[in-house]
Symmetry: C4
Subunit: 228 residues, 4 copies
């Protein structure tokens, strides 16, 4: 079932090592078919260089595995919460990519210091709090998703397709699995340059709002005209 989606999700997963975003199996990509409400996700613990499209696991939004020889990624409950709440997204990525994870470990959101950031993400990339012990004990992976959804309940998850989980790492999402990987790459570049820019100038301030607006809205929304 969902052979085309499995292929797409497989290819999106393989972009993670290509872009240097994963070591070993530290990442996973999923994609959803909104018509059937089923999503496809990387299996748990399979090495990237042994992965095949047929290894992808098919899940429903109640968390039932419908097809697959392996267990789904242990982060599956997080993906599921995001798919349920963010109805306009088609793909999700989780990695431990080195720069985004360094910010997550530092417990800081990433200020918008420049146009590379503003071209894709509007405003500061948030870092959500740690789960409490009770939340961890009850359902760690699910509650990670619940916390992210709660953070975005009064915010726009389309113009900010990324979040850092404190002491853990990033999640990104997008219109489909490939677009979510694209945003994971952008996040990593932005995280790297934001850190270095603070080290070059500890008094640095975010980019002027009108510059952020110009770059975001020349690529997104009704008046977009951008491409380099």
């Amino acid at each position: 079932m969902l052979e085309q989606l499995k292929k797409e999700v497989y290819e999106a997963n393989m972009l993670l090592p290509k872009h240097g975003l994963v070591t070993f199996t530290w990442g996973n990509v999923s994609g959803i078919d909104r018509e059937t409400g089923l999503f496809v996700i990387k299996p748990s613990g399979v090495e990237y260089d042994k992965l095949t499209p047929g290894d992808m696991v098919v899940m429903d939004l109640e968390g039932n595995k419908l097809e697959g020889n392996y267990n789904p990624s242990s982060d599956t409950p997080t993906h599921l919460e995001l798919y349920k709440a963010f109805s306009d997204i088609g793909g999700i990525v989780h990695t431990h990519s080195e720069w985004a994870t360094s910010w997550a470990q530092a417990g800081r959101g990433i200020p918008c210091y420049g146009t590379t950031h503003a071209d894709y993400m509007y405003g500061e990339i948030p870092c959500v709090r740690n789960l409490t012990k009770a939340e961890i004990d009850e359902a760690y992976e699910k509650n990670t998703g619940v916390l992210i959804v709660d953070y975005f309940k009064d915010k726009d998850y389309i113009s900010m397709p990324a979040v850092l989980c404190k002491n853990h790492g990033p999640f990104t999402w997008g219109t489909d699995a490939h677009n979510a990987v694209h945003n994971a790459v952008v996040l990593e570049e932005v995280a790297k340059m934001a850190a270095r820019c603070e080290w070059i100038n500890p008094q640095v301030q975010p980019a002027p709002q009108e510059l952020q607006d110009k770059h975001y809205y020349r690529k997104h929304g009704a008046n977009a005209y951008y491409g380099q």
Copy 2:
């Protein structure tokens, strides 16, 4: 038209990923034919690994597209202003290369800390101010060029073939498209080493003027004799 120039500009564009200066499509190279007053530039939003010489777009200095299946890079109005004002240059590069962009985001020019810098660029690499909201709203890409040209109106754009745009990224130029890419690579190396050198010694001062002069003028001008 301009088949040879299109080939050169195509090849110069392909050097950007080779030298690690671009992620996705975040960069563009152009080259000008001074006899006809026409310039050739990368199309907008085309992936580097799908680019062909025939995709290059031919423009005149009034901003009219004369040939090309795609739109020209959205930074074309910036290139155009530089070509009009800097009559001795033959090529221009814009990237979001990681170290130069970190300095641009930090809002600082890059002091000349050593001979690697002085071999190619004379003095501090400038960082020009943000555009005002009015300048952005009126014509963002054009006014980026106008601002750079205004900065250089009483300075030598030949001995300083690079500029940082605050909260954005670098532009470099040169005698032709390849030379402009060469300067983009130099800028990135210099930006990286300048940052690290400040972190190793926060009290570091620019290189002595006589050393800067020696290195710049042994490679440039009437008395040049250099090559390693």
Copy 3:
């Protein structure tokens, strides 16, 4: 003798350059056959691109060379002490990998700042003291092992399969040679992200204990269920 183990140890050694953990010959991997009490280790001073499985040296736990055309790694006495004291390990790695060595040179243990660390190593990765002049003069390489063993005498070497030797570099171990290399890669990633996270937030604190517990124990012990 031990042809299968020699092949495994050879392959594990070759993973060091693949993962960017060694320059020149600055590293070595060994593996032990607990039935015979013999271990196999990289020869001394042989370049990685000239290494063959047949070059591996077979040693007993009294330090006698039983087979091999070359001398064993000069770090062999350190490996031997670890094998004698840590009865549940099957492989050992020593490298001068750049980030772990930078922490070792800095004389600091690596705090657990995130889940990447907690997934594999429980708590702060220790940095053991310098050997005294007397300990160096008596038997430097052996006493390096004695010092590590002494540090772990009241600690769990299974849940902390890594140590930094002050002003020197890391040792890691594992269930076999490959697993020890896996831990060396994890250590390097963790060391890199811990340094950057401190630079991004100098007031950063270790990850909450309940988060460390969750990540370590979802992958290790009776209740493990993890895989990404």
Copy 4:
């Protein structure tokens, strides 16, 4: 003439890009034949990927070019001074490698923070002062060599085969051209880890003298026994 030496020096030059020590043509290697007193050096300004053994230039110690289609590297007078004064060396390397150059630009010698450094270089890697304007004007490249030789006049250039020239970059030397490149690689690794180790622990002190002694003398001199 000196075909074997030209081949060796060519191959040693080609190791610079392989080890990531050069951008463009920013480096050069030479080797000397002590019997004839002639040395062979990279030509000036030739790209590495176009270099051939036959392009190497043969020089005598009076600075006369005896063979070669190109000019010798413009750093030739520096090499020449080192060969004249350091009678036991057989090869010299100059690069603008990024970490060593960052220390040179910072104007600081590199303290010995660990055994990676002590395995090859005994004590702090020195950073020599800027040349005066008079020294630059008189004979810049020659006086760079004179300054280095003067610094080492009461020191051992064998146990310290490297120097940083302030605001410029490193020179290393060795028993032959390949060994000099080996030392250039070591210097770069050591420079990188020394910087990071200071950032991880700003109060870091050099490695204990007895540890430096142990590592240097287990690899060098009459009692050497080392190999990993």
